[in-house]
C-alpha cells in the first residue's frame, strides 16, 4: 500500500511552498495564473486528493451535518432525508444519519453537551419525545435547527408548517362534506406530544368555527403515528356503539392503517367512513382508496433547514432563532370524496 500523495509532494514537484498549493486547491484569490497553472499540472500528474481528515482537524470542523430523526422507515422522514441530503451536498456538506427510535434518552444525548461533537458541525433535529429540559441542557455551541412542532426559544431555528391551521383545514373539509361524527386519531396528551396537541387544537377549532362541539370521546390517542397504531385505534372506534362517519388521522400512515381496518370490516371508504391523513407520502397517492391529506412542502422544509443551519454554522455570532412556517395545502383524494372525484 503506497503512501497517499500529500500537499508537500505536489509542492515539491511544482517548485512552490506547500502553502501555495493549499491556496490553489482551495481557490484562494491572490495567486498568479502562472503558479496556479503550474500547481494544477502537478496536482493532476500526481493524482493528488486532499485529505479530508487532516483538513477537518486543522480547521476544527468536520464538513458534516447530522440529521436526527425518530424513525427512518417512516416514509415521511425518508422523503425528507432525501431532500436534506441533496441540499447539503449542494453546499459541500455530508449528512450523517441517526435514528433515535423516539427514545428521549437517546435524543437528549445527541444534543447534550459534549456528545459526539466534532463529528458534525450542526444538527437538524426532528424530536419526538424531547422536553423543554433537554433543550435547556443542550450544548449551547451546537448549531441547531429543529423540525416539527416545538417552538423556538430563540436559540435555534424551527421549521414546520402551521399545525393548528392545517388541522383546522383538514377537519373543516370533513365537516364540509356533511359528516356528523368526526373522530381524530393521534392525540398525545402528554409533555412530549406537542405536535399532536396542536393538531387536536385545530380539530376542535374547526368544530367551534361551525358552532359545533367536537366529540371529545372520539379523540383517540396513539403512541406512534404508524400503520399498526392507526389500525388498532380505528378498531376501537368501530367497536363503539355509535361509530364515527369520518376520521382525521394525524399522519398518512395512521390513515392507511385506519382504512385497512375499515375495509377489513366490510365497510366502505369514504361512504361509511371518510378518512383524511397528514404528510402526503407517496403511499397515499397509490393506495386504494387514495388518501386525502395535508401536504407540507417537504422540499421547502429541507432546503430551508439546511440553509439556516449552514448560516448558523458559518457565523461567529449566531443569528436569532427564527420561527419558519413552511407552506402546506390540502390535497383531496378518494378517501374523502370517493372515486368519482379523481377521474
Amino acid at each position: 500500500m503506497r503512501r497517499e500523495v500529500t500537499l508537500r509532494d505536489v509542492a515539491e514537484l511544482a517548485g512552490v511552498s506547500s502553502r501555495t498549493v493549499s491556496n490553489v486547491v482551495n481557490g484562494y484569490a491572490n495567486v498568479t495564473e502562472r503558479t496556479k497553472a503550474r500547481v494544477q499540472r502537478a496536482v493532476e500528474e500526481l493524482g493528488y486528493r486532499p485529505n479530508v481528515l487532516a483538513r477537518n482537524l486543522a480547521q476544527g470542523r468536520s464538513g458534516q451535518i447530522a440529521l436526527v430523526v425518530p424513525y427512518l422507515d417512516t416514509p415521511y422522514f425518508a422523503e425528507l432525508l432525501q431532500s436534506v441530503i441533496r441540499a447539503a451536498r449542494n453546499s459541500g456538506y455530508n449528512v450523517l444519519i441517526d435514528q433515535t427510535d423516539g427514545d428521549p434518552e437517546h435524543e437528549r444525548g445527541f444534543i447534550a453537551h459534549g456528545s459526539r461533537r466534532l463529528l458534525f458541525d450542526g444538527v437538524i433535529f426532528s424530536p419526538l419525545g424531547l422536553d423543554q429540559q433537554a433543550l435547556a441542557d443542550r450544548d449551547p455551541a451546537l448549531p441547531l435547527v429543529i423540525l416539527g412542532e416545538r417552538a423556538s426559544d430563540g436559540t435555534f431555528d424551527h421549521v414546520g408548517i402551521d399545525d393548528v391551521a392545517a388541522s383546522r383545514q383538514a377537519t373543516e373539509h370533513l365537516l364540509g362534506l356533511g359528516r356528523q361524527r368526526v373522530a381524530a386519531i393521534g392525540d398525545q396528551p402528554y409533555a412530549t406530544g406537542e405536535a399532536a396537541q396542536l393538531r387536536t387544537r385545530g380539530f376542535r377549532e374547526a368544530h367551534a368555527a361551525r358552532g359545533l362541539a367536537a366529540h371529545e370521546d372520539l379523540i383517540i390517542g396513539t403512541p406512534r403515528f404508524n400503520r399498526p397504531d392507526g389500525a388498532r385505534a380505528m378498531a376501537h372506534l368501530l367497536d363503539r356503539e355509535d361509530p364515527p362517519d369520518a376520521v382525521f388521522c394525524y399522519s398518512d400512515l395512521v390513515a392507511l392503517g385506519a382504512i385497512h381496518t375499515i375495509l377489513a370490516r366490510g365497510l366502505r371508504v369514504p361512504e361509511d367512513v371518510a378518512v383524511i391523513g397528514y404528510d402526503d407520502i407517496e403511499d397515499g397517492r397509490y393506495s386504494n382508496p387514495t388518501v386525502t391529506t395535508i401536504s407540507p412542502d417537504k422540499e421547502w422544509i429541507a432546503t430551508t433547514a439546511v440553509e439556516r443551519l449552514l448560516l448558523r454554522i458559518g457565523s461567529g455570532t449566531p443569528p436569532p432563532g427564527l420561527e419558519l412556517r413552511a407552506p402546506h395545502r390540502l390535497i383531496v383524494r378518494e378517501s374523502t370524496t370517493g372515486r368519482a372525484s379523481t377521474r
Copy 2:
C-alpha cells in the same frame, strides 16, 4: 468560546503523561488500577471528551462507513438503512448516507479511485446501473460489500437473496392458483439490469418446470421499480386484447402501482388479476388488498453486510470475496388468494 479540554490537560491534572491518559481512555490493558482511577477522576473533573477528528487523523481512519443506495424514499432501502445504522452503531461506526439517483456516473464516482476517500473506511453499496467496467476501475484498497444482484468477482463480498429461486417460487405460486396468463413487470434487458434479468429467468423456469411456455409478450420492462412505473406497465397490459390474469411484479412498489391501475379500471384483485410483489415492505402489509410477496430477510442482509465490511476494514490482507445468500420466503396475502385467507 473557551478551548476544548485536551488529553494533555487531563494528563497534567492527573500527573501522568498524555499517552497514559490515551491508554486509559481507550481501555488499554496494561494500566494499574491506581493510575486508571486517577486518570478517570481527572477526566470527569475536566469533562474531557476525545476529539474524534484528531483521532481519525492520527489513525488514518474515519470510523465511518458509507451506505450508498439509489433511492432513499424507496421503503425497501429505508428499512434496510435502518438496520444498517443499528448494526454499525453497535460496532462504534457511524453511517454516512448517499443516494445516487441511479446515476451510473455518480455510482462510479463513489467507489472510483480517490473519490471522497478517507471520509469513510468502507462502503456498502447497492448499485443500480453499475457495469463491470466501473467495478474494475474501482479503488482496490476500498473495502466494499455489494448488496443486490451483482455477483462477486472475488474482491468484494456480495449479499443478496437467490433471485432466480425466489422468482421461480413467486411464479409457481401464481401458476399453482390455476392462472393461465401470467405477466411479469420489471424486466430490464440491458447491461445494468442484472437483478431484473435474474427474476425474469426464475419466471421462465417456473413455467418450464410445469411444461409451459412463459408468455414472452407479457413480460414488460420498467426503468425503475416504483409505483408510477408499475401503474403504467399495468395499464399497458390491461389495454391488450388478451390481458393477463396474474402478474409477478419485481418489487412491492410496482405491485402497488399495478393494483392501483387494476382497481381504477373497475377490476378486482385477485379475482380478475392476481398480483404478487417482491421485497415485503410495510406498505404491502396494510394496503388494500394486502400484497403477497417475496420477503428477503433484511435484518440478516444488513447485519451480515456490516459484519463483513468491518472484517474487511479490520484486516490487513482482505479476506476472499464471499457470495452470501440471505434467506427469503414467500408470504401469501390477499392480492393472490383474496380476503378469506387472512382471517
